[in-house]
């Protein structure tokens, strides 16, 4: 009850701020994104979900963004709801966008780290609805989110864009949910990506990333990870598009084995094809695989299909996802059905690649 009251209060505060500053010349863009889901489970692993139907208000996302001055901007995204039902700072960062030498941009704050392409995106951007298993297993339900400083440069290579970024991170991203209370060392990551326009209507981006972070504070063990990602998009007009994404990651860390300390290397991969066949309709399929980060003998593989209907772009969207998962030590495969209603209230946002 207290949580509901707090949520309503927050929405009212944001709505009042939004209403009053919308009239002002210096106004941040404020958006509300609601994510409501009807879940159906068959043969789920836990009793909580076993052969059940559930209706959840998954999350309300409140996003604010705008310029601080001619050189910098700030972006804040709060998530309310979710599994824990708490108010969560999903992202809050300031970016120096121009004026720095060497085409640099510097971002500082809490943000989704660009370790791979998919990790920087919020789940409401995906037709497949759920975060890939490898993100959940290696980094947690919200993916790789950390406090850090990100330095990025854009290098023109002909008409192609080479982007290089380096992150200095607080470093608790591999330590689990209670990592905030644990004394740990800082970590880091980097990504190189090349974007290229393939003809007049297609684009391709390929990226490689690396990550270094403490995996166990007590024994001072560290993990190294690598990631490869690609995205191909064909968009001849507003009525048709085809998106193919693929990402794989591998992580290596020291663990306590049967014969003492051992090195465990685990692998995860995700790939999806999303086809928009009319202005408001899309459909596609995906494959999702991950090994446990500290035990590569345990794995889960999921595959499924999705379809979506957007009433007017991203403002009101209904998606249906069917998925089957199997894995090591699973008694039998389990199935999930999700019907999602996603709505977005706020200014029209530019469409990113």
């Amino acid at each position: 009850m207290k949580r509901v009251f707090l949520t309503i209060l927050l929405i009212n505060i944001f709505a009042t701020i939004s209403e009053s500053i919308a009239q002002a010349p210096v106004n941040p863009d404020i958006s509300f994104i609601g994510d409501m889901r009807l879940f159906g489970y068959r043969n789920a692993l836990s009793d909580e979900y076993y052969n059940k139907l559930k209706l959840n208000f998954e999350e309300l996302e409140i996003a604010g963004s705008g310029y601080l001055n001619p050189y910098s901007r700030a972006d804040v995204t709060l998530g309310i709801g979710g599994t824990g039902g708490e108010i969560d700072i999903e992202e809050a960062f300031a970016t120096l966008v121009r004026g720095l030498p060497l085409n640099l941009q510097v971002k500082a704050g809490q943000y989704l780290v660009d370790f791979g392409m998919l990790n920087t995106q919020h789940p409401h951007q995906w037709s497949w609805i759920q975060r890939p298993l490898m993100h959940q297993w290696f980094f947690g339900e919200e993916g790789l989110k950390d406090i850090g400083i990100d330095v990025t440069t854009l290098i023109p290579v002909g008409n192609n864009a080479l982007t290089i970024s380096a992150n200095l991170l607080q470093g608790d991203f591999l330590l689990g949910e209670d990592a905030g209370d644990i004394d740990h060392n800082m970590g880091g990551s980097g990504r190189i990506s090349l974007f290229s326009s393939v003809g007049a209507t297609s684009s391709l981006e390929i990226g490689v990333s690396g990550l270094y972070g403490q995996s166990e504070p007590d024994s001072n063990r560290w993990a190294t990870m690598g990631d490869f990602d690609f995205k191909y998009k064909w968009r001849p007009d507003v009525y048709h598009s085809l998106v193919i994404v693929g990402e794989s990651m591998v992580g290596s860390r020291k663990i306590d084995g049967v014969n003492g300390e051992e090195t465990n290397s685990s692998f995860g991969a995700f790939s999806a094809v999303d086809y928009q066949f009319r202005r408001r309709y899309n459909a596609g399929a995906f494959v999702d695989y991950s090994q446990m980060p500290d035990d590569n003998s345990l794995y889960q593989i999921g595959y499924g299909a999705f379809a979506g209907f957007s009433l007017a772009e991203e403002t009101y969207r209904i998606s249906l996802m069917l998925r089957q998962d199997d894995g090591k030590d699973f008694e039998k495969p389990f199935q999930t059905v999700i019907l999602q209603l996603l709505w977005s209230l706020g200014p029209h946002k530019p469409h990113q690649f």
Partner: protein
């Protein structure tokens, strides 16, 4: 001594190269590109982000556009929130020396909402209808804004830019007289258009827009709205359904079959159809398309 001469030759070559270097101009749309090329002449190299064949409301923010803008000296935007996608492209370019000029400065926007605007009205632009370049009188204001921008970053090009502006104005006035005469048979004629892209054009040439295929700006046609539109076309004996080339012809065809009206592809931007190669030929093409269909009818 030889080294000194070589050094001086090298320096002179650099100075000559710098003197010959063109001003790098990026525009949001092909219409601004055309006018910027006219004003800038040989002193500028112009690239447009959106091409005339694509819907300027929906341009994807691509890293390759950021690379293009990173090399630019000046960026000309449409403004009135049509090219709201330009901001992340400009930010992503990291270009601290870029001059950004909003070409809608001095334009009197049509259909500027007087009450509160919200999304129930569709994709309404709170600052007014942004398709202002389709009125030739506004093309002159755009040309002046472009001249002002070029003078700001390249004052030494002043004689060329100002002379080209005078030439542009004179050519525009001459063509306007021809266009006005050509469109006399169209004066007062009612047409249907797909999107609300044509209020400035229709005001300039006396054409009346009786309705839109879209029920509200940016909203896909619905069966009930299409039925209403069919009734309207029949009742008012409207003969032309104007369609921007990037929209689907599915609903216009349904309406045309039910009413006997003719679908005409009208390019709202330079490059939208063959023949619309610059600003002047764009207006020529639109008028010619309307006249041809009007006469056939």
């Amino acid at each position: 001594m030889k080294k000194l001469i070589s050094f001086m030759v090298l320096m002179l070559a650099f100075i000559a190269m710098a003197a010959n270097a063109k001003i790098n101009v990026v525009t949001s749309t092909s219409d601004l590109k055309s006018i910027a090329e006219y004003i800038g002449g040989e002193r500028v190299s112009v690239t447009s982000i959106a091409n005339g064949k694509s819907n300027p409301h929906f341009v994807e923010v691509l890293p390759s556009y950021m690379v293009t803008v990173s090399k630019a000296d000046i960026y000309f935007k449409i403004g009135l929130e049509l090219d709201f996608w330009a901001a992340p492209i400009i930010d992503g370019s990291r270009n601290g020396k870029l001059t950004v000029i909003d070409c809608s400065q001095g334009i009197e926007p049509m259909e500027k909402p007087t009450a509160k605007v919200d999304a129930s009205m569709g994709d309404i632009h709170p600052q007014g209808n942004p398709h202002y370049w389709l009125d030739p009188a506004n093309a002159l204001i755009i040309a002046r804004n472009i001249t002002k921008g070029l003078l700001q970053i390249d004052p030494t090009g002043s004689p060329i830019y100002e002379a080209n502006l005078v030439k542009f104005e004179s050519q525009l006035n001459a063509r306007m007289e021809i266009w006005k005469k050509e469109t006399e048979p169209l004066s007062g004629m009612e047409i249907i258009t797909y999107h609300n892209s044509w209020p400035y054009f229709s005001r300039a040439f006396g054409i009346k827009i009786a309705g839109f295929v879209e029920p509200k700006p940016g909203i896909e046609p619905t069966p009930s709205h299409t039925a209403e539109l069919i009734e309207l076309i029949k009742a008012r004996k409207i003969k032309i359904i104007g369609k921007e080339p990037y929209f689907s012809d599915k609903s216009p065809k349904t309406i045309a079959r039910a009413t006997g009206a003719t679908i005409v592809d009208l390019p709202p931007s330079v490059g939208g159809l063959p023949g619309a190669e610059d600003y002047f030929s764009l207006i020529d093409t639109i008028i010619s398309k309307l006249l041809t269909t009007g006469r056939v009818r």
